[in-house]
Symmetry: C2
Subunit: 406 residues, 2 copies
């Protein structure tokens, strides 16, 4: 008998027909001889509705109250699923964050799970009950309701799977797995049957939307096998797990893109210690995440500093950098928001030479100019003009023969 944690996203529980579909899947898993813990998101659109409600109450809603409000969406879906399962003769019981209890830190809107008390859940599982847990929510040490941030239900599911030593954590979503790239812009995109935590993590960070990076990090840390599957078909699926021999053959596993990028260049900066700190500390203080940072070689004691950030932060970032630029004697600040980041990801990359060269040559052949480059052991990212996004993805997908099964 295995212990299975299944997480269903907002589109999978968007209405009563879909909740009944989830119930059928859960029952099938239970009747195959498993213990089942289900983690649910709110109905698709409900969290956004609640967020709008909060913003109609206040421009900057009190964060404690905000979390109390938006956590109601999951409370609705877990109780509805429990009703449906009970009606169908399968004892089921919903658990809210405080009932489990899922203890988090005190960081409203982006809380981190500190501990999960598994006693009540284990007690119900032993009785044969299907346990249904509200995703996205927890309570802090003073029993204030907290939420885990966007995509937090994935994190809830993985954390529960880790705490319960589950055999697998199924992530049911509206796509049937993880693809070599976005099928919407590259028709040759192929579903991967397996992928390592590290690759998945890079792909999630680099713009693939199927899983939240935090949940993948946690799955990697606690070695929870993740199985990304479609709520609407039993076909397909991608297993996210630790690397094995079989997987190491794939040099490049996927191509990702991120259009939410803006490039800021601080021109002609005196090259002396403390300059970077002076530029980036204010950004950090304003919670602006800086992605790639490139500093040119110094010429005559001056250098250019270029970095990328999310487009939504561009205005504030520019203001902060212009202020700092004046202090440190920079000539000017240049901004380009028509850029995108194209990346290739693969664990095999580290032991294969020529991968970067092949990427650059492929882009060059199409006349795509590379504005910035950043590399790690398992990914190479290039910032290019945004208009080349689709083209770059397609030619890289071809060049690394990703449509072929490895």
């Amino acid at each position: 008998m295995a212990l299975v944690v299944q997480k269903y996203g907002g589109t999978s529980v968007a209405n009563m027909a879909k909740i009944e579909n989830v119930a059928a899947k859960v029952i099938r898993t239970k009747e195959a001889g498993n213990q089942v813990v289900v983690v649910l998101s709110a109905m698709a659109g409900e969290t956004d509705r609640l967020i709008n409600l909060a913003h109609s109450a206040a421009d900057h809603p009190d964060e404690r109250e905000y979390d109390a409000l938006i956590s109601t969406g999951e409370q609705v879906t877990v109780s509805l699923l429990a009703m449906v399962l009970n009606k169908m003769g399968h004892p089921a019981r919903s658990f809210l964050g405080f009932q489990v209890k899922i203890l988090t830190d005190r960081a409203y809107k982006k809380a981190r799970i500190v501990n999960i008390d598994t006693k009540a859940i284990k007690h119900e599982l032993k009785k044969g009950t299907i346990v249904i847990v509200a995703g996205f929510q927890g309570v802090d040490p003073d029993n204030n309701v907290t939420t885990l941030g966007r995509g937090g239900s994935d994190t809830s599911a993985v954390a529960l799977a880790a705490a319960l030593h589950a055999d697998v954590c199924d992530i049911f979503t509206d796509v049937d797995g993880v693809y070599t790239t976005d099928p919407n812009i590259c028709s040759k995109a192929r579903r991967l049957s397996k992928i390592t935590y590290d690759e998945m993590l890079e792909m999630a960070r680099l713009g693939a939307k199927v899983l939240q990076p935090r949940s993948v990090e946690m799955a990697k840390k606690y070695q929870v096998p993740l199985y990304v599957r479609s709520s609407f078909t039993d076909e397909g699926g991608t297993l996210v797990t630790k690397g094995d021999k079989d997987m190491e053959k794939e040099v490049v596993s996927g191509v990702t893109y991120d259009r939410d990028q803006a490039k800021i260049t601080v021109v002609h900066v005196p090259d002396r210690p403390g300059i970077a700190a002076r530029l980036f500390t204010p950004l950090a203080e304003h919670n602006i995440v800086v992605d790639m940072i490139i500093q040119n070689a110094s010429i005559d004691g001056f250098t250019d500093l270029t970095f990328t950030a999310s487009r939504k932060d561009l205005k504030e970032a520019t203001r902060l950098v212009e202020e700092a630029g004046k202090d440190i004697g920079a000539q000017k600040v240049e901004v380009d928001q028509h850029v995108a980041k194209i990346s290739i990801v693969g664990v095999g990359m580290v032991s294969h030479s020529g991968v970067a060269a092949k990427m650059f040559a492929t882009l060059a052949r199409e006349g795509i100019n590379i504005l910035m480059i950043s590399t790690s052991d398992i990914k190479i990212s290039c910032v290019v003009q945004a208009k080349y996004t689709e083209l770059a993805v397609m030619v890289l997908h071809d060049a690394f023969e990703l449509e072929k099964r490895a």
Copy 2:
């Protein structure tokens, strides 16, 4: 400095504009030098929406899950009001049932409050925080969410007022107080400035919708002064309190009516011990509340038994009584659903003779036949044909001169 508990019903928090109106009232109370605890219902219509959702999940939704679902409505309003108050510079904090905590028994859908832990609320009040508590909800000893039944927010407010030894419990609603009768059917209806717990209790039981009988019972038990007021105007209001000399002058305080009545007569029943038990036990077992019961004097060893029940229970009640009637040898069962109960209520009645006679004569003068009569120390009820409801209310209101200030 007084401690004031204020309860706002669903129509008072139906949308953001109305919630801001509530915030303004709360702030005014606070700035007058009071400590304020606010109890809220769900937005008007929201609880019904959630109930419909539950019934779309299952014909007979699991009761535990039902309570978890429908309690979300109050979670939404309390957090929204807290956001608005915080935005306006008045520190406020919402509390859910488990956070207070409001401990109830295990009776889902109609739980009774067992204990309220006032520590956290008092701590916040001492800091000058406005405390906002979700009405209608609590938790049982195992932290399962429970709800208190229709109108449960009134009960939450009174229980909090009792536990906190509040100076007054304001019940804000969509009418500006308690009237001598329903102003919709009698234009001469007059708002009462004061009424006793006992009178209010009778009036609530007899069909006046402004307060739930349970909350009045609790207010009487703990001597919590209730002040029924309108959310939309500062005028008016009715104080519900224990009797004083001033109030004893009013022989009759109000006229109520209840159209949700059906009359069932079991004809020609052998008059022997155990007959009533055989008839009414099945009704009790099916949770059918029997209101008035009349047994005629026995003639030749046979009698007729007549009782009233809610119209919604009529079909099942008839079935049960016909079954029992066969067993005990009754001739037949007759049903009349075109009846209404008209009552006059007043604490002074007990010491004034002729009140009943005046009521009967007044009805007789209009040709209204009395089908059943039932009396207590502070009320007299007559069942009449439903078509006479308005007429009966108006002539009784006139006869007892209720339009005049006592």
